[in-house]
Amino acid sequence: MVIGERKPFDEIMKMLEGVKKIAVLGCGGCVTVCLTGGQDEVRVLSSQLRMARDKEGNPIEIIEKTLERQCDPEYVELAEGMASDVEVILSMACGAGVQFMAERYKDVPIYPALNTTFVGGSKKEGYYVERCQTCGECKLYFTGGICPIARCSKSLLNGPCGGSTKGKCEIDPEVDCAWQLILDRLKSLNQMDRYTDIMPINDWRTNRDGGPRKMIREDFQR
């Protein structure tokens, strides 16, 4: 799922300076799962904003709403009534959701309440870790299911580097050395030959380096 973190409160307050009526719009997708932008978080942020503005003597009116997702036109459509009613929509969706909303509602500023950070999953509830860099050419076959691009700080394809210490990355003792993990796994899967073969230079065109990407299902085009 896509993981994000709520922006610092002061930053959000600054975005709303001079604005009197807003909607705080949550998303029922990834950000609900990672406890950052779902209905609960909409209520918490709205309460905080009302309190902070009351304290200033400059109250703000907030409509609280959560959509199933903000990255699908059929759901984005459902915000129409509310969109014409407010000065600003503060979206708690990931960057993708904010942009789809902005594209659809051209007359209302859509502001991001989150900093979208990475693609990953839960180690356990409330603890999310990065796993995928969306490079567009998955190498997990060669590396025992552990991604060298996302999890190695240098994205080495023929690691480990000389900074690997006791299974941890040189940049941070809490970050696992991806190549240590890969080697351990390849060993247990009896696939060490996949290490000895040199992994060729990556074609970064499938990554964001090649420009913004798209994916099309031909059978769904009418």
Binding site: F9, D40, V44
Partner: protein
Amino acid sequence: MPEFEPIVVAFCCHYCAYGAADLAGSMRLEYPTNIRIIRLPCTGKVTPIFLLRAFEKGADGVYVAGCLEGDCHFIQGNLVAKPRVNYTKKLIQEVGLEPERLEMFNMSAAMGPRFAEVAREFVERIKQLGPSPLNKKFHIQSDAA
């Protein structure tokens, strides 16, 4: 100008804190009338929004009272509540309220005197902090005086 009498909301779990409150009552122990008790089945039911709403509606102080750690009637409810209360302290700090306005306490149903003591001490703490900037009643009163 009337003296500041804080409004304190206490979220109490049915099995321990509320029981202690009952006992304090039967023992005729005195504790401040500022406390408004809200009874929950377990402090595990508390999520940040409960506590934020209390402050939003003008509470000067809020506390959560549950069973002693290790003795929660629902096994882990009070353990789940604790980090939520700590997190909410940060949330109210972001808004500009002092984190000391929010607290969590643990007690058993047999601890009537402790319930009264917590109530007294917390109300005193809030008196020192002064009214919450969101306490409209007090601010309206003081304007009228």
